[in-house]
Amino acid sequence: MFSRAYRVAITVPPLAWVTVFLLVPYLLMFCYSFWSVSESQAIVHSWNFSNYRELATKTVYWETLLRSMWIAARVTLFSLLLGYPLAYFLSFRAARRKDLYYQLVITPLWVSYLVRAYAWKTILGTDGVLNTLLQYAHLTRHPLDFLLYSPFAVVLTLTHIYTPFTLLPIYASLEHIPRNLIEASNDLGASPAQTFWRVIFPLSIPGVLAGATFAFVLSLGDFLAPLLLGGPSGIMISNIVVSLFGAAYNWPLGAAISFCMLLIVVGLLFFSERVEKKWSFS
């Protein structure tokens, strides 16, 4: 149908882009993960598994990885708990105000990540808005110190930042449910609550999975929130990667960690896509 030149012209640029900016860096990273660093801080191009052995044996790495996954899991849970009801409200109850509310959900995405993270810093700090308020209301005598520089602060901030990402796919899947299915369910004697659990929720599972995957993957790889608000106890795996590539100058070990995370994320995406497919009907 299209000329050969045309087909080449439209396929080559994206392919080149993906190769140069995605495949080659990943391949480089993969190679680096088998190399090592000499005493004189030079990269030694000798192939071995020493980096992976170090990861497996040194508890700090996989403990941080597990903690990061635990933080990401909580962020996922809270964004689902916040995002689902809001998406449901938007889709089924907002009626004429739908577009307005939708914009209100989207707008925070236009604000820089850093600004939002710093905003939480001023809210949660020792002399922050929240502590001042709590003391003023005599709910606490001394400022609460677990609010900032803690996993709590990281989970809170990441939940705030990634909830829209969770909400949008859920909202999309709810919008796709034919409304006559809900009427059919009511017609067959199911109350609104029964209809929700038997019809609406099962049909929104692809959206829930997509949203959960977004929240988990994005927060697992996050390094700014733990850097700004995490403190020593809120360190995440990406912070270690950043320091390995930076101050510690151990690119090979950083690459090995990155590659492990890549595997985890790809595995997760693969799994969620399969389950999503199983639950989509159209």
Binding site: A184, D187, Q194, R198, F281
Partner: protein, 376 residues
């Protein structure tokens, strides 16, 4: 009246005559838009009633009020002595077959049919046997484990029917359930649906825009026009005794004759026939098949003395065009005064040298109808 009052008699007639469903002055407005006005209708137990109307006539809204998906703006709906319209849809013993079936895509055929019974928390042995009976009744037992996306439209239709009927509702609502099927399957399903309704004895309210479908299936037809009931009658009556010009034209074809009635004779241009209609202007509906090609060998019964009522009225007309329809032909003829009539005949008409035909009709077939004013 008071002296002849017989409580036993009154009581018995009341219970006998009590309809299953009774609509009392039901109206529905969407903002300023009046969709239904003053709908009063009684439907008997076991009746197959068709709500017939063009798109936008309010027929689907009426059905949705009965199902409980819409709230009537005014009026009441009663079913079996209980107020229906104040109950939520899930408390009504009413089930619906939706226009696009609305089968749950994440459930198998079997699970779809079992849905209502599961909600009603029936014992599982009962659910199993009722579901398999219902599927057998609509000939879908072989597809019990299939997902709705894997079966055809006609099959989905049957499953939707089984899913509704398995709950043994007092009233089954069907919203243009056959409109998505192709013509042959549609005719087949019309027959099956009617047979099924007789078998289960459940009251059906069937909504359609297809007058032929309404004629074939219904015990009674309620013709809806711009949100008002135009006529409610059996198919035979609504066809042969249309109350209004709109009914006459909507159900089947007709010739509308503007006539002047004087001394028991209606005159419309060159045509005149005896009538019992009151004097003054009158509009008459004459069905195309009521005009016959006259047997030219028989002596014309003209010279009609005004005192004797002739069995037939004869007329001569020029043939304008004819359309072959298989079993019969549709002819358009023009009378001497320019009035054009349509007639249906199964015999090839004999045309004389002037291109004229000898035609006849029975005066009784010219039905006086109320004129229908144009409505938006």
């Amino acid at each position: 009246m008071a002296t002849t009052f017989d409580p036993a008699f009154t009581n018995s007639t009341q219970t006998n005559a009590q309809p299953l469903l009774s609509l009392r002055a039901v109206a529905k407005h969407f903002g300023k838009n009046i969709v239904l006005r003053d709908i009063s209708l009684e439907i008997a137990e076991g009746e197959f009633l068709t709500v017939l109307g063009e798109s936008g006539s309010g027929k689907t809204t009426l059905l949705r009020i009965l199902a409980g998906f819409e709230q009537a703006t005014a009026g009441e709906v009663w079913m079996a002595g209980e107020r229906l319209d104040t109950q939520p849809p899930y408390r009504r013993r009413v089930n619906t077959v939706f226009q696009h079936y609305a089968l749950f895509p994440h459930m198998t055929v079997e699970e779809n049919v079992a849905y209502g019974l599961r909600i009603a928390k029936r014992p599982s042995s009962e659910i199993e046997s009722r579901v398999s009976d219902a599927l057998a009744k609509v000939k879908m037992s072989a597809f019990a484990r299939a997902k709705p996306s894997k079966i055809s439209g006609g099959q989905q239709q049957r499953v939707a029917l089984a899913r509704a009927l398995v709950n043994r509702p007092r009233l089954l609502l069907l919203d243009e359930p056959l409109s998505a099927l192709d013509a042959n399957l549609r005719r087949q399903m019309q027959g099956e649906l009617k047979a099924l309704q007789r078998e289960v004895g459940i009251t059906f309210i069937f909504v359609t825009h297809d007058q032929e479908e309404a004629m074939v299936m219904s015990d009674r037809i309620a013709l809806l026009r711009s949100g008002e009931l135009e006529q409610v009658a059996s198919p035979r009556e609504i066809y042969s005794r249309p109350a209004t010009a709109y009914t006459a034209q909507f159900i089947g074809h007709t010739n509308l004759l503007k006539a002047d009635v004087r001394n028991g004779v209606a005159t419309s241009g060159a045509l005149s026939w005896p009538t019992t209609a009151p004097a003054g202007a009158g509009l008459f509906s004459l069905r195309p098949e009521c005009i016959r090609v006259a047997d030219s060998s028989a002596p014309p019964s003209e010279t009609s003395l005004p005192t004797t009522v002739p069995a037939t009225v004869r007329l001569r007309a020029k043939l304008r065009d004819q359309v072959f329809h298989g079993a019969n032909e549709l002819l358009r003829v023009e009378c001497a005064d320019g009035q054009v009539l349509t007639l249906r005949t199964s015999t090839r008409p004999a045309i004389d040298g002037n291109g004229e035909l000898e035609l006849e009709f029975s005066p009784a077939d010219a039905v006086l109808v109320r004129p229908s004013e144009e409505r938006a």
